[in-house]
């Protein structure tokens, strides 16, 4: 059951990551178009602002994908000295800590959005973007990261209690950058 859930989460996150990727691509195209337009004397204006929003959204929504692809850097010098059970303990412990921190971030992110909604804040820029419009999806991204990280922790904990700890390596193990960059 745990592994099935992780598989589902992974599949969803791959789609999310692809959407984020295309968002970044669209932003690059937009910036490019603006550079070209500047050469002929006009400009869309506000590319800086849109680039910033894109980055904030890409960051919050990409986090959960990176988590399940074992992308978040860990120093596993001590961890590698242990057998599978010891490693699983390290992994589950670091997932518990991580989930707690991410949940805290998600909770503390809400007041930022709330203030923008209650004050109908607009960005202090030429575009005067209503901030809630960008901050709501940004906040949702952190909530998604918190949810995925809690579910992942539960899955790993469940497998650990069932003494199937060798199966946790695949989704909470230490990162393997060299596999992904080739």
């Amino acid at each position: 059951m745990e592994l099935k859930m992780i598989e589902t989460l992974r599949r969803i996150n791959r789609i999310v990551a692809l959407l984020v990727g295309f968002g970044l691509l669209a932003c690059a195209a937009f910036i490019l178009a603006d550079i070209i337009m500047r050469q002929v004397g006009t400009s869309f204006g506000g590319t800086e602002e849109i680039a910033g929003y894109t980055m904030a959204l890409a960051t919050s929504w990409g986090m959960a994908f990176t988590l399940l692809e074992l992308g978040h850097v860990r120093i596993d010098l001590l961890r590698t000295k242990f057998q599978t059970f010891g490693r699983a303990l390290f992994d589950v412990f670091s997932m518990v800590v991580m989930s707690a921190v991410i949940v805290t971030i998600a909770i503390k992110a809400w007041p930022v959005v709330e203030r923008s909604i209650t004050n109908s804040s607009r960005a202090n820029t030429p575009l005067e973007t209503p901030l809630a419009l960008v901050q709501l999806p940004w906040f949702a991204g952190w909530v998604w990261f918190a949810v995925v990280s809690c579910l992942t922790t539960l899955a790993a904990l469940g497998l650990l209690l069932k003494r199937r700890h060798e199966e946790t390596e695949n989704f909470v193990g230490a990162f393997a950058e060299q596999d992904t960059l080739q």
């Binding site: 791959r14 990551a17 692809l18 984020v20 990727g21 295309f22 970044l24 691509l25 932003c27 690059a28 195209a29 910036i31 490019l32 550079i35 590319t47 800086e48 602002e49 680039a51 910033g52 980055m55 904030a56 890409a58 960051t59 990409g62 986090m63 994908f65 990176t66 692809e69 992308g71 978040h72 850097v73 860990r74 120093i75 010098l77 001590l78 961890r79 390290f90 992994d91 412990f93 670091s94 800590v97 991580m98 921190v101 991410i102 805290t104 971030i105 503390k108 992110a109 809400w110 007041p111 930022v112 960008v134 901050q135 940004w138 952190w142 950058e177 060299q178 596999d179 960059l181 080739q182």
Partner: protein
Amino acid sequence: MIGYVSVGLLGLLALSIPVGIVLFLLGFGIDTFFSSFPLTRGLGNMVWSSSNSATLIAIPFFVLLGEILVRSGVATRTYAALDRWVSWLPGGLIHANVATATMFSATSGSSVATAATVATVAMPQAEKLGYDPKLFSGAIAAGGTLGIMIPPSINLIVYGFLTQSSIPQLFLAGLVPGLALALAFLAVTAIICTIRPELGGQRRTFPFPQMLRALIDLIPIIILFGLIVGSIYRGWATPTEAAAVGVAGAFIIALAFGGVSWDMLIQSLTGTVKITSMIMLIVIGASFLNFTLASAGLGRELTEFMNGLGLTPLKTILVVVVLYIVLGFFIETLSLMVVTIPIIVPLVVAQGYDVIWFGILMIVLIEMALITPPVGLNLYVVQGARNSGSLNEVMLGALPYCLTMLGMAFLLIAFPQIALWLPQLLQ
């Protein structure tokens, strides 16, 4: 507070908690134990303002640029072309390793990606042509580290962002030391292979028409580099805009070489998202820790600490160098850089050193960290691309280059102008 942060940092990292999360935890700790007003209330705003950044979006763009070039087969052509040009030197193909790594550094912002690319292309050649695997693989691991020095460099963007210094200036400052290091790597290879010819393979010369034809494969990369770096220095574009131009350029090159497919696009995009989030979790964590440290009065404490030690500026820098070498055995590039910036940079700047210059010195030192065991990511990347032999061979082979970098670090300390000359010239 300095002691708390240092001990907490190393302890939590050793527990293999993700680096970004460790930085948040330390920030929470500072808030609880050292601050009279609640700093965690600012957490949401910190996370928002440090990721809502038009500067940092240059990171995913440069990563994407590298991913496109790597996955479209441009590397193979570059390697073959450079082989035609540099393999007549003593050491043969090893020079092509360094040269290819240098060229890819100039376009991609990542050291690991550079090493991985060159390793996959070069390793089969080594076996075919009977090279000594030690120096051959060591040269790839070392050459790959240039990716974070020669602009565009993701690490320099992060450094500029966290220390609020000019990224174009940092890029300019990295250019001369980066190229000098590449030349030094070539020279070291040639010297070693002249003294011990059995370490290199056969030297090869190619007829001139073949060399000319190979140039065609190099021109696109050179133009791309010129486009990115040139547009920043001419003031046409910000680093972010130049990165967007670079992405477009990489696409055009990949199209021209016939390397674009739906699969390749998907892999490049998801790969970019993964690396970007990995970097951003650390950057946001560092921003938060920076904020708590500054609010809790780190500056004053650092000054007192340094006065207590009574070190001269030069001695301070030497202590910092030793610190990076020691930490570099265990912690990797970006993490090492980001976790040390909040404490080390204010300390060094307070001693009267230039923040741009120190950025470049720090890059040389964390480049070394990439190829020093037991934790040296580039060593593992190169080892991963080999079919036989032990990791020790790669480590041993990287050693001469490691010493070259140390030499570079001392040169930078003795002659800061190596880094500062170009930015001052163009200011």
